[in-house]
């Protein structure tokens, strides 16, 4: 497929007219010059921009790069960030990423090598529409003309690994707040362009105190596991909203004793729930920090009693106020 793109790319660039423009954002001047040299045979204008770089958050970067491309009437946007070269193809609305051979500033030869990588990645960005393909003048006659349009640069899928710390309220127990700590792994597949994904998460915390003197004294523990669909709405290169919802399971247990009734024991339950979150995601390189609000809606009523005396009525809906910190990896 790539060969098809390589073969059909030439006629477009063989014209005398300029056939397109790319924007380099906050790039090293040597790299910009080297990119101009590499693309001069394609008659592509290379324009240096001082706009804010699209960043490294894939979903946000796609949107930011698209805005830059549209504002500059460019087919592609190139920027350097997070130790990588990023190339956005506006036609495909996709981004390709390559690790840098070294950190800038680069010498002329290294800049030229990096420009060759840009040229390699940009082939599909400047490929003509399928219906306008013309035979390649310098292609060997025995070769079959390409018939399939090449795929755009493959967008990345990302994996996010986060830890969480926060509070759940209300508890309906003697401790009014429940400290919670958790972890989450989320996967955002390439075909969703970083906007949608799935996450599995769990959170737990120290037991909360349950006191109903003189009838009962004990503790309540609750471990929650959930699987959610996640949707991200990029607002800036470094800022986005995240929504999530899905099924969950509460593994809860009440244990304690009643001195007046002469009882002691432990009861455990497993209950289904609906879990949802709304978060604000801040991105810096691969680091992700996300204040969030969540809710957990139990699908079964949890009512605990000791010899007919109600000792704990677990709230059907609980709120979670937390901060997640972690990394997003391509």
């Amino acid at each position: 497929m790539l060969l098809a793109a390589l073969a059909v790319a030439k006629p477009v660039f063989a014209d005398d007219e300029h056939t397109g423009k790319i924007v380099t954002v906050h790039a090293d001047p040597r790299f910009v010059d080297a990119t101009r040299v590499a693309l001069v045979s394609w008659h592509v204008d290379v324009v240096a921009s001082e706009a804010e770089t699209p960043g490294t958050n894939l979903a946000a970067a796609l949107e930011a790069a698209r805005r830059i491309a549209r504002a500059e009437d460019a087919r592609a946007v190139v920027w350097i960030e997070g130790g990588s070269l990023w190339v956005y193809d506006d036609r495909a609305h996709a981004v390709a990423v390559r690790p840098l051979p070294s950190q800038p500033p680069w010498d002329e030869a290294t800049s030229a090598a990096l420009a060759l990588t840009v040229k390699t990645l940009l082939l599909s960005a400047f490929e003509p529409p399928q219906e306008t393909h013309t035979p390649l003048p310098i292609r060997h006659e025995h070769e079959t003309p390409p018939k399939k349009k090449t795929p755009p640069p493959a967008p990345m899928h990302t994996v996010r690994i986060l830890t969480l710390a926060g509070l759940r309220v209300p508890t309906n127990a003697s401790d009014k707040l429940a400290a919670r700590f958790g972890a989450e792994v989320a996967y955002f597949p390439s075909f969703a362009h970083g906007r949608a994904g799935i996450a599995i998460s769990t959170d737990a915390g120290p037991s909360v105190l349950v006191e109903h003197a003189p009838y009962f004294e004990g503790t309540f523990t609750d471990i929650i596991a959930a699987a959610q669909l996640r949707f991200r709405v990029p607002l800036r290169s470094w800022l986005g909203l995240e929504l999530g919802a899905g099924p969950g399971v509460h593994f809860s247990a009440l244990q304690g004793s009643s001195s007046s009734l002469g009882l002691a024991g432990r009861v455990a339950r497993t209950d289904a729930s609906i879990e949802a979150i709304l978060g604000v995601e801040l991105a810096w390189k691969i680091l992700r920090v996300s204040p969030l609000v969540g809710t957990s809606f139990l699908l079964r009523y949890q009512h605990y009693a000791a010899s007919g005396v109600q000792v704990l009525d677990v709230p059907t809906a609980q709120m979670l106020y937390a901060v997640r910190i972690g990394v997003e990896l391509p």
Binding site: M1, L2, L3, L6, A7, A9, K10, F13, A14, V37, A38, V40, S41, W42, H43, R98, P99, P101, D107, E108, A109, T110, A112, A113, L114, L116, T117, K119, T120, L136, I138, R139, H140, E143
Partner: protein
């Protein structure tokens, strides 16, 4: 963009009347020249890249990859395959090694 002929200039005669000195274009100038004529004179571009690639240093490395990429663009798959292989053999950790591996794999 400098042309091949203007890149080789002669200096003004010295006061002593000695023979004019020939200014040989640098590898970078030759590389830029080849890049500029890829679409209009691809055979000449390949020739320049090949001469540069026969040497040593960073511009030889860049020229070898540029030649392989251009050959692929021209549809000369066998030549491109050989050049990518040569690049990876000579510069396995070169700045375009990942590109060469990717394109080479597409050629298999």
């Amino acid at each position: 963009m400098q042309t091949a002929h203007s890149a080789i200039a002669t200096s003004a005669p010295s006061a002593t009347g000695s023979a004019p000195a020939v200014v040989v274009p640098s590898p970078r100038e030759r590389y830029d020249r080849a890049a500029a004529i890829e679409s209009t004179h691809p055979d000449e571009a390949v020739s320049i890249y090949r001469e540069l690639a026969a040497g040593e240093g960073s511009w030889a490395m860049n020229a070898l990859y540029a030649e392989a990429r251009l050959e692929l663009e021209r549809g000369n798959k066998d030549s491109a395959r050989k050049r990518f292989a040569e690049y990876l053999q000579r510069y396995p950790t070169g700045p375009n090694a990942n590109d060469a591996r990717e394109l080479s794999a597409k050629l298999q």
